[in-house]
């Protein structure tokens, strides 16, 4: 696992860090079917199971559809359940993702983001998790290995919070974060145990003294009420994510919010971007700041539920915004993040100009120069007040 260890830091790949976090969480059940680039999560975690380092019941299944089905069964039975997947694996889980959220089961899934076929591609983009954005799962995006590691513990708390009770997806970038070694700080096992606590399901199927039915049919007289109930729960999740991010900061020194603002205070031109590419963009911001340009970044961490108000508030004084999507929703009108950010800004009296840039699909490199180029375009919009190209692909 370890490759280097200095000053209480340890060099881990994203996948190793996730597997290690799962070992520390010690879930009751882990049904999984390995798929690139998340394979090492399942592989390393299964070693922990085989070596007796965890008490987890590891279920090898014949597909991701079965993996999520087993997660649902185990979670309804009252177990703390985790799994990991990528791309086609997440796509094959589709049907069951909605059932997990509709039944309000606090399953935690790591999605190592990878492009969807066709054409087949194993590298990073967000089309897998973005496709699952309406499945009722909470989605948290991680920029670094450290964030992915920290997010997983918080995900357990968020999912199991009684105001929420919804499944959570922790996303990190395939290969870029999953396979890159980064020095991270690990948290002690005891501290993790205290932080996540014990999971007590409200209505476990295995409590035969109090029999319950999961998955009953609801007709037009009740279905919409259950969906409204679910919608209210995911809306409430926003504050829970904030509270738990703050508590995590108090305990372990790394505080998390709904988003990260980087040099945003006086920024006129801003890139909104998820996950690892935000790191690349920070380098561009630092360079442009040296040249006196007022540029900044907004990196949403929570994508589901979408923090509309907070995003609008963060961007209210900005003049031009480029939303960079590592996925195309094939609507002919930009990426999914663009559409939601733009919609969030509609409530503002004075709105910034907002453009969509789709980048890095199928693992195409997104370089500092790409970010600089986008900022150049934005600064021109600030100057002229005119948008030449509303939506386009970059890094091509």
């Amino acid at each position: 696992m370890a490759t280097t260890m200095t000053k209480a830091q340890i060099g881990l790949t994203g996948n190793s860090a996730i597997a290690y976090a799962m070992k520390q969480i010690n879930p009751d059940v882990c049904p999984a079917y390995p798929i690139t680039p998340s394979t090492a999560v399942v592989e390393e975690f299964s070693s922990y199971v085989a070596d007796g380092k965890v008490d987890t019941e590891f279920i090898t299944v014949e597909s991701e559809h079965s993996a999520m089905s087993a997660c649902i069964g185990a979670s309804a039975a009252g177990a703390r359940v985790m799994t990991a997947t990528s791309s086609q694996g997440l796509a094959l889980m589709w049907e069951m993702l909605y059932i997990a959220s509709g039944m309000r089961l606090p399953i935690v899934l790591t999605d190592v983001n990878r492009a969807l076929s066709a054409p087949i591609n194993i590298h990073c983009d967000h089309s897998d998790s973005m496709g699952a954005r309406d499945s009722g799962w909470i989605q948290i995006y991680s920029e670094t290995v450290q964030e992915a590691y920290d997010n997983l513990f918080q995900a357990v708390r968020i999912a199991e919070n009684e105001k929420v009770l919804l499944p959570v997806m922790v996303c990190l970038d395939g290969f870029i974060t999953s396979h890159a070694i980064e020095n991270i700080s690990l948290i002690d096992d005891d501290d993790i145990r205290q932080f996540i606590g014990e999971y007590k399901a409200q209505h476990p199927l295995l409590d035969t003294d109090h029999p319950v039915t999961y998955g009953a049919m609801t007709l037009p007289d009740t279905y919409i009420e259950f969906k409204r109930q679910q919608s209210e729960a995911i809306t409430r999740a926003k504050d829970v994510v904030s509270e738990i991010g703050k508590e995590f900061g108090k305990r372990f020194g790394r505080e998390y919010g709904l988003m990260e603002e980087y040099k945003l205070d006086d920024a006129e031109a801003v890139i909104v971007i998820l996950s690892s590419a935000a790191g690349t963009t920070k380098v561009a911001v630092d360079e442009l700041r040296k040249a006196g340009k007022k540029v900044g970044i907004l990196k949403p961490r929570l994508f589901r539920p979408f923090p509309f108000k907070e995003i609008a508030d963060a961007l209210k004084n900005v003049k031009a915004v480029a939303v960079l999507d590592r996925a195309d929703s094939m609507s002919g009108f930009g990426g999914p993040l663009f559409n939601e950010v733009r919609s969030a800004l509609y409530e503002l009296e004075k709105r910034p100009k907002v453009v969509s840039r789709i980048f890095g699909l199928g693992g195409r490199d997104y370089m500092v120069k790409d970010a600089v180029h986008v900022f150049d375009e934005l600064l021109k919009i600030v100057e002229t007040g005119k948008v030449e190209t509303l939506t386009k692909y970059i890094t091509i």
Partner: protein
Amino acid sequence: MAEKKNLPIGGIITEGGTAHEYATGGWRKLRPVLDKEKCTNCLICWVMCPDSAIVVQDGKMIGFDMDHCKGCGICAEECPDKVKAINMDEEKD
């Protein structure tokens, strides 16, 4: 079902045996009619009924639970050829 505002979370049903309270007889188009003279109380209908709607008392078939019988006709079909004690009649509106 409970009050809509107090619906259990995630559509679960928080107790067992609730199917008993849910009358499904209204779905019926055909109604089973028993000819007691012919019935031999073999109870094949009781075994085969998918809705547990055959009422048996002291080992004898005494009729149907019309709140739950959906009128599928399996009882009439399965009643032995030599007996044919159950007929499916058109349900009046």
